[in-house]
């Protein structure tokens, strides 16, 4: 667990921008492009000011051509540049799959090591306000499936900065997963450059009753659930994998061996998703003690509906996570749910990473 060296609070969105700006300053090969990175909204603020700072050759918008623009990023990366390709929604990556899966992931291997593809692909998962079917997907499971890609989903401003710096410096294509609701969250973030490299999960809360793994925004929901079940005397340990590929399963297994229970809360569908992989790895590992109880929560196995009651039902939330925890830890006391008022209040809790 990293400790902040700096008392400075920064928003997630500003941490992203700062990381990119500092890396661009440091390394002239880094450039940022993608639809709307240069407008007055600047990808919800995360690219704001970069064009003024670094000029239109290093920060520029593109036509609506996700497939070719991904190829362009790959080609530029092969030539030695270090592109950051930005998409305002993860759903749009479906247009870039051919280049990402068939070229970016494979180039280094398939060409016998002759080229590298140091590429960062940023995209945001949307949520709420009727984002609906095509602006809400967390499709990182697809990228975790494919060797050659790295996948990271920072849950707080500290990691946002550190992971972005690590991603930019990585010589491999990195799928950088952001969540819209994380943008306004704050954490203590050092001003200096630092990397949160791949391969290390972080324990965000201690507990011995159950291991809770949260992904991206679900880390916050898990921390809220942690508070809710604490009321009932249940101590949930919360782990943030941070990097999904490569995945630090050892930290999770160590915890699971202590708690005997594993609950993964994902920001995505469970089927063949990150939560499936985590359960599978824990299950198959010879290091895991026998008899662990496991469960997953994720998006309901439906398309995301915009209508409010449906949308509420669609997403895991602290109350539902808490209820699931309770059911696993205290199977005798059926039907426990956190107090509704407290569950609502859970959203007012401020969690300041790094956890």
């Amino acid at each position: 667990m990293s400790t902040p060296n700096s008392p400075r609070l920064l928003h997630y969105v500003d941490a992203l921008r700062e990381a990119v700006s500092q890396e661009m300053e440091r390394d002239a090969r880094v450039f940022v492009f993608g639809l709307d990175v240069d407008d007055h909204r600047g990808i919800q603020g995360s690219t704001l000011g970069l064009q003024e700072e670094f000029g239109a050759k290093r920060v520029f918008t593109t036509p609506l051509s996700e497939d070719a623009m991904t190829g362009v990023a790959i080609g530029a990366a092969m030539a030695g540049l270090r592109p950051i390709h930005v998409h305002i929604r993860m759903d749009f990556l479906m247009l870039a799959m051919n280049q990402l899966i068939n070229i970016a992931a494979k180039a280094h291997y398939m060409y016998g090591g002759a080229v590298k593809v140091p590429l960062v692909v940023r995209s945001m998962i949307g949520k709420s306000w009727g984002q609906g079917a095509q602006h809400s997907q967390g499709l990182y499971g697809m990228f975790m499936h494919v060797p050659g890609l790295k996948v990271v989903a920072p849950s707080n401003a500290y990691d946002a900065k550190g992971c972005m710096i690590a991603a930019i410096r990585d010589d491999n294509p990195v799928i950088f997963v952001e969540h819209r609701l994380l943008y306004p969250t704050e954490a203590y973030v050092p001003e200096e450059l630092f990397a949160v490299p791949s391969g290390r999960a972080r324990r965000c809360a201690k507990g011995n009753d159950i291991t809770l793994v949260g992904i991206s925004n679900m880390v916050l929901e898990c921390l809220r659930a942690h508070e809710l079940v604490a009321e009932a005397g249940v101590q949930a340990e919360v782990i943030d994998p941070i990097w999904l590929a490569p995945l630090d399963i050892d930290t999770i297994i160590e915890s699971v061996n202590r708690t005997g229970r594993l609950l993964v809360a994902d920001n995505a569908w469970t089927n063949c998703g990150a939560s499936a992989e985590i359960l599978a790895r824990v299950s198959e590992s010879p290091k895991t003690l026998r008899g662990v109880q496991m469960a997953r929560l994720g998006f309901a196995a439906t398309t995301c509906p915009p209508s409010p009651l449906l949308e509420q039902e669609y997403y895991p939330n602290p109350a539902r996570i808490a209820a699931q925890i309770h059911q696993m830890v205290r199977p005798g006391e059926t039907g426990w749910t956190p107090d509704a008022a407290r569950a609502a209040l859970a959203y007012q809790l401020q969690f300041r990473g790094p956890f």
Binding site: L64, D91, Q131, A133, S307, L309, Q312
Partner: protein
């Protein structure tokens, strides 16, 4: 101004007075509906990002006016106008924006996914360009059916940058499918102007290289759009005419998404808007009607609108247990 405008739009001979009234009604209905949406929006009752077509109404109205009821249209996330122009159910549309069970997609779509299959309005999509090949596929089915039905596919200037647009043009032309491609060129994709996205403006020329006849309307004139759409669609109904293409330049008066104007945000000037407001098709068409007729239409629109918002407000939200409906068709 009224006189000049009248002269300008009345040059198209085949427009009968009854046509004018009905065209005006559609234009006005769309305008007023979106103004109401914008008015209500701050109340947070509409739980969906809205992409208003205010200023762009003439494109779908002009095109849909020459369509048969059993013709088909495809739309985009900026689909309110086309939906209404093709006769989509107003109550169901507003209810959809409100996320209600009575919505045209039963609250499962939202503003970006309007649909009304009874009126042959294919569902909108929030991913730019995706509805174009779907429209072409529908046209393939209509060609096989052989009843002279056609599809009109609406999309923005940004959609033409997606590769799928070209793939769709080629396939439609190769099979001579009955589809009219309609590009609503409002010069912007979100805040990015054409200059940052198009290497050249020769869109119609490009489309013609597929063997597809193409026309451009540069001023949003609804009757001109209607006339060209009619001309373009005629051959399509025979089963032998291939696809056709219409580029209609128009201007989006409001912000890309949301209810407001955005001329202070820096990416465009209000002076760009002004010529378009001067040739506002809603007003110009209205000016051609008698005062009483116009007032009658206006009043009727206000009443259906009020009823539609009332309908939406009083309708129920889909209930949580219904979340799992329709994941798979039975």
């Amino acid at each position: 101004m009224g006189a000049a405008a009248r002269a300008e739009v009345s040059i198209v001979p085949e427009v009968l007075p009854a046509d004018l009234a009905s065209i005006y009604r559609k234009l006005r209905l769309i305008r007023r509906t979106e103004e109401e949406i914008a008015r209500v929006y701050p109340s947070d009752q509409i739980k969906s990002p809205v992409h208003l077509s205010i200023g762009q109404e003439s494109v779908p109205v002009g095109v849909c006016d020459v369509l048969r009821p059993d013709d088909v249209i495809s739309t985009t996330y900026r689909g309110h106008a086309a939906y209404l122009a093709k006769g989509g159910d107003l109550n169901a549309m507003i209810a959809e924006l409100y996320g209600k069970e009575t919505g045209c997609a039963r609250g499962r779509g939202g503003s970006m996914h309007l649909i009304d299959m009874k009126q042959y309005i294919l569902g909108g999509s929030a991913v730019v360009g995706t509805t174009i090949p779907v429209a072409v596929g529908y046209a393939l089915a209509l060609q096989r059916e052989g009843q002279g039905r056609v599809v009109a596919a609406f999309f923005g200037d940004g959609a033409t940058e997606e590769g799928v647009f070209h793939e769709s043009l080629n396939f439609a032309a190769l099979h001579r499918l009955p589809v009219l491609f309609v590009c609503e060129n409002n010069f912007y994709a979100i805040h990015e102007p054409l200059e940052k996205r198009w290497s050249s403006r020769q869109l119609c020329e490009r489309v013609r290289t597929y063997g597809i006849p193409a026309w451009q309307v540069a001023d949003g004139n609804v009757l001109e759009i209607r006339r060209l759409a009619g001309e373009a669609i005629g051959p399509l109904r025979t089963g032998a005419g291939g696809p056709a293409f219409l580029e209609c330049q128009v201007y989006r008066w409001r912000e890309h998404v949301g209810p407001q104007e955005d001329y202070e945000s820096g990416y465009r000037e209000r002076s760009e808007l002004e010529p378009w407001q001067e040739r506002d098709q809603v007003r110009l068409l209205g000016d051609q009607l008698g005062a009483a007729e116009r007032a009658g239409i206006d009043a009727e629109i206000e009443s259906v609108l009020a009823a539609a918002f009332q309908f939406a407000e009083t309708s129920k939200f889909p209930a949580a247990p219904d979340l799992f409906q329709n994941v798979y068709a039975e």
